[in-house]
Symmetry: C2
Subunit: 233 residues, 2 copies
DNA sequence: CGTTGATTTGATCAGAGTCAATCCCGGTGG
DNA sequence: CCACCGGGATTGACTCTGATCAAATCAACG
């Protein structure tokens, strides 16, 4: 079930049935992981990456003194940085932050699929460009924005990406991340995330509607950070 | 003159003479830019990217209120994010921060060279993986490190990258970035960069030796940030 | 020399971190 | 059905890193 990924790549370039079938074959063996379970470990040989089918994961790096930086959240349809397979050691880890289903993809799988369907190379590279786009956007957010703006940028990003994957068409989605994780992603402390979200709620920019569901006021948040562009395609 | 880029790609995978020649052809027309001159503008069609031959550039994004985030410094031998050519609009700009020579590369140039020399695809993708590695490292630095650690990480990164390009074999290099730029890269104010560098100098971690030359104590800086890995190959 | 941009320094301020106590809520077991 | 448990969220009090503002110095260059 790589439907989500297919859909995303097709948005860049329509896929022929054989191409779709080839992509399908990447998602043959579906694995699942419980919340909190590590799917890829850091500092080990990078022989495969993953495709997310359902649920959320996080790409992060832990420091020995306990600090942690979340580089990005992985959402359904994400194919995680295939280029990283060309570097000997992986410098990040991936852990499920909700119950999740995913598939593992090796470099061989990818080279084979591209040699058989060369036209798939471009959409896959486009996927990579998108990942870099997200990293740069994240960098801008952490480097030059204050707490409210960082959270606004993150919520907007998640909402846009989920919408592109067919979830959260309105601005409402379930946020599978604790405030600690939001802090580790935005470079804030968990306490400050709590305070900031409270004040955002007071100003009607976001609303918590039961069981970790979050509803955001898209245009309100965008007004806070007018310079941010939207996630590609 | 794409010698620097060739050398880097060859480190990943030895190149045959025709492959080298093909790369050479990318660097046919050499352009030059003065310090401060913009080479690529933001928010316009992304129809080409650049290869740096000599000098330094910076990839950055300006906000309308004057804030600026430098995503990375471009050093000799860098081929800037070719994947970004697959996204319609460029969300970053590139400006020379020293006198610079470079070449422009279009998507057509790249697809042609790869179709003629398919074996070059992998080194080029590896180049992309390296760029992502640097972005993630930068993210970790800005998100979870304090001022000294951020500057230490930046100086080490620059020194390593220059060393790989054949410059700065000892820890000494000329730093073509003002303190304002160092601040815009690390998410600090220029004033705080000044203070922090002063204290690092007091502790013999760095030394300023005339005309924007910087000598760093590699092992001393690494001790500050033991978790950071070194730049790939 | 004078001009201009960069760096340095001091004084003050504020945003965010830390520590610790408390609260809330869903899940569990009696 | 209810008391208890535990992880996450909240709140308050206080601290501290780094931002801001402004003045002074420095250095290169015409």
């Amino acid at each position: 079930m790589v439907r989500a990924l297919e859909q995303r790549l097709a948005a860049f370039q329509p896929l022929t049935p054989p191409e779709s079938a080839a992509l399908e074959s990447l998602g043959q063996s579906v694995k699942s992981a419980a919340k909190g379970q590590q799917m890829l470990a850091a500092d080990c040989a990078a022989d495969h990456t993953i495709i997310i089918h359902r649920g959320w994961g996080m790409i992060y790096r832990d420091l020995t003194d306990g600090r942690r930086q979340i580089m990005q959240f992985c959402l359904p349809g994400d194919l995680v940085d295939p280029c990283s397979l060309l570097v000997s050691r992986r410098d990040f880890a991936i852990t499920a932050i909700s119950p999740i289903t995913y598939s593992e993809v090796s470099l061989d799988d990818l080279t084979q699929i591209i040699s058989e369907h060369p036209r798939l190379a471009l959409p896959l590279l486009w996927n990579e460009a998108r990942e870099i786009y997200l990293l740069r956007r994240h960098l801008l957010s952490i480097g030059r924005m204050n707490a409210v703006e960082r959270l606004a940028a993150l919520f907007l990003e998640l909402s846009e990406r989920l919408a592109l994957a067919g979830h959260a068409p309105d601005g409402s989605f379930s946020l599978h991340a604790t405030q600690q994780m939001l802090g580790d992603a935005t470079g804030l402390s968990a306490v400050h995330v709590s305070r900031t979200m409270r004040s955002m709620e007071d100003e009607q920019l976001i609303e918590r509607t039961g069981r970790n569901r979050l509803a955001i006021d898209r245009s309100g948040l965008q007004k806070l950070i007018p310079d941010l562009t939207t996630v590609p395609s």
